[in-house]
């Protein structure tokens, strides 16, 4: 009598095997992905390794992957440079204030837009999205900022680009999807005003979208360079990126000294570039693994109904 096969084990004949072609495809996939991984990772590792190597090793091209002659001379130079420290402080200020202002303004317009009974929301939406399609241009905007006497003030970096239309759209989509009408109706019956509802109910429930908004605006402020370039003249207001530009790209770091001093200075200046890059990107890249999840979430929300 034949033994009845139990469902616990599947006979080899029944297991679904991948065809040879599919297995080859899969291995090609893995190879390609690994290549991409290396292509992205290698420059980053190279920079970090160079930043903690000695000036001589970097200048003579001895660094390939791992640091050579570990030294923190580069970092010491970076932190003893006043301009850099001032720039760092300014950027921290602009990032925090700018993100705060931007998030508040974005929510202030996205929330009303998400309510079905808010008359005029379609017109308002068109009003906003038109700015996506057409802009006055560089000079006209500059003249407005100048007319408001904001040139060479801190406000010039906080206001002109305070609201990103894309973020308003994402926020509005979130409010529409996550704050049920019934909640609002119930609060209304209890005599809760719109503002109170916004502050006490909506905001606490909106932590994900607030995180996304804050991060997008914060990163944008930290990396921003163009507004500072055109609106600021005083060095003490410069954000970090502007200072970086003068050191890294325009090479303004030296003075006049004798030949051997100059060579040492040059090597140090060269090394300092790597350390500076690391220091400038560090805040963002350290927080990055934690915030990446929120960025992805934000993009998902935005792309589901753009």
């Amino acid at each position: 009598m034949a033994v009845i096969q139990t469902t616990g084990s599947i006979s080899p004949r029944r297991k679904i095997r991948e065809s040879a072609g599919d297995r080859v495809f899969l291995s090609i996939t893995y190879i390609l992905l690994s290549l991409i991984l290396v292509a992205v990772l290698y420059p980053l590792i190279y920079i970090v390794s160079s930043s903690i190597s000695s000036p001589q090793a970097v200048a003579s091209g001895k660094v390939w992957l791992w640091p050579v002659d570990i030294s923190f001379a580069g970092y010491k130079t970076v932190f003893s440079n006043d301009q850099i420290l001032v720039g760092y402080g300014n950027s921290l200020f602009y990032t925090c204030c700018g993100a705060l202002i931007s998030v508040i303004l974005t929510v202030a317009i996205a929330y009303p837009l998400s309510k079905k009974t808010f008359f005029g929301r379609n017109v308002l939406m068109m009003f906003i999205t038109f700015t996506f399609l057409f802009s006055g241009g560089l000079i006209p905007t500059y003249l407005v900022v100048k007319g408001l006497h904001l040139i060479d003030t801190r406000w010039a970096l906080l206001l002109p680009n305070a609201i990103f239309v894309f973020q308003v759209i994402i926020a509005r989509t979130f409010f529409k999807a996550s704050i049920p009408e019934e909640l609002n109706d119930a609060a209304e019956i209890d005599g809760c005003s719109d503002i109170r509802f916004l502050l006490s109910v909506v905001i606490p429930l909106s932590k994900p979208i607030l995180a996304v908004l804050t991060l997008v605006y914060a990163v944008a402020q930290w990396n921003a360079f163009f507004d500072a370039l055109i609106y600021l003249k005083s060095q003490h207001l410069y954000p970090l990126q502007l200072t970086l530009r003068s050191i890294l790209i325009q090479n303004f770091s030296g003075g006049n000294m004798d030949a051997s001093e100059q060579v040492k200075r040059q090597e140090l200046a060269y090394l300092m570039k790597y350390s500076l890059i690391v220091v400038a990107s560090l805040p963002v890249l350290i927080l990055y693994p934690f915030i990446q999840r929120y960025f992805v979430q934000g993009m998902l929300i935005g792309s589901i109904k753009g």
Binding site: T29, F118, G136, P140
Partner: protein
């Protein structure tokens, strides 16, 4: 008990008359007055920093005199536009902007899609997450830092790329000083920086594909490649089309920062684009009217492009921006 009269259904249906609009508006104003107040600061922002500049763009038709301000300056009609079109550099600008943009589009559009399709095949969640995490990282590097990384790696003597080329027996190239190489450097560094970020959108679209389609494909005996062609790609097509529309529509509005930072006197022939030209002529040379004319021209072209591309897309597929 009182008799309650019930009105026939048709009479209670609201009609969209202007009288009803007003009623609705007043009702909303009374109910949501706080929200209307709340909306004022953002609206003020848009008026001040977006719409007022649009009005200021009339400067393109005037001869700007600082003492008279924008509205007091005399009209000159299309003088600056004539100047622009007759300027031989104008066509170089358009060519540079267009070529750079198209090159960038051709490179940065398909690669994130391919990456997303490949990642979708991978079964190991850890590997998938690792690739995503790492490829997404360069996006957060600022433009200034990115360009300085480019300059370091492509330096004529000490740059890593040249060192590798030398080791393989080839001579060093001055990548950034060569107008013919400028575009490639710009575009491929852009690919390096943005692929991971763009890929996420496609991965999200892929995650939304109906699983029963995959099962059907398997039952039909489709190989991985066939599955990709027949299930994955149609799944991400809507997202891809929208992104393509946006990219094509923005072809003439190539950004300023990265190109400006990468410019040097040697590569200016291919690196001078419309936005950098407007900056130099307008802010550095204070030639406000002319620069406004160029900028206005650019904005109008952009608008036309976006509208046209959207219309085309609406005809040939179901996806469009509006």
């Amino acid at each position: 008990m009182k008799a309650v009269s019930v009105q026939p259904q048709t009479e209670t249906r609201e009609r969209s008359t202007s009288k009803n609009y007003w009623k609705e508006a007043k009702k909303s104003l009374r109910k949501h007055w706080q929200l209307y107040l709340l909306v004022i600061p953002p609206v003020l922002f848009f008026i001040l920093f977006k719409y007022l500049p649009m009005a200021n763009a009339v400067l393109a038709f005037k001869n700007y005199q600082v003492t008279k301000g924008i509205w007091g300056s005399p009209w000159v009609g299309t003088k600056y536009f004539d100047m622009l079109f007759n300027n031989p550099q104008f066509w170089t600008l358009i060519k540079n902007t267009l070529f750079l943009s198209l090159y960038q589009l051709a490179a940065t559009f398909p690669i994130p899609i391919i990456l997303a399709l490949l990642l979708n095949e991978v079964r190991s969640l850890r590997f998938k997450k690792a690739v995503q995490l790492i490829t997404y990282a360069p996006f957060f590097i600022s433009t200034v830092v990115m360009v300085s990384i480019i300059m370091i790696f492509l330096a004529p003597r000490l740059g890593l790329l040249n060192v590798i080329l030398n080791a393989m027996g080839m001579e060093s190239t001055n990548f950034l000083g060569d107008p013919t190489k400028f575009r490639s450097v710009y575009v491929w560094s852009e690919v390096w920086q943005t692929t991971g970020y763009s890929c996420v959108i496609y991965l999200a679209a892929l995650a939304g594909v109906d699983p029963s389609l995959y099962e059907a494909a398997k039952v039909d005996g489709a190989s991985r490649l066939q599955k990709i062609i027949h299930v994955d790609i149609p799944g991400i097509l809507p997202a891809a089309v929208i992104i393509l529309i946006l990219s094509v529509g923005n072809i003439m509005s190539l950004g300023f920062e990265k190109v400006y930072l990468m410019q040097n006197p040697l590569n200016l022939q291919s690196s001078e684009i419309i936005s950098t030209y407007v900056y130099k002529i307008g802010l550095l040379n204070a030639n406000y009217s002319f620069a406004t004319a160029v900028g206005l021209f650019n904005s109008v072209i952009n608008l036309i492009l976006l509208v046209a591309v959207n219309a085309v897309s609406r005809r040939i597929s179901e996806n469009s921006l509006w």
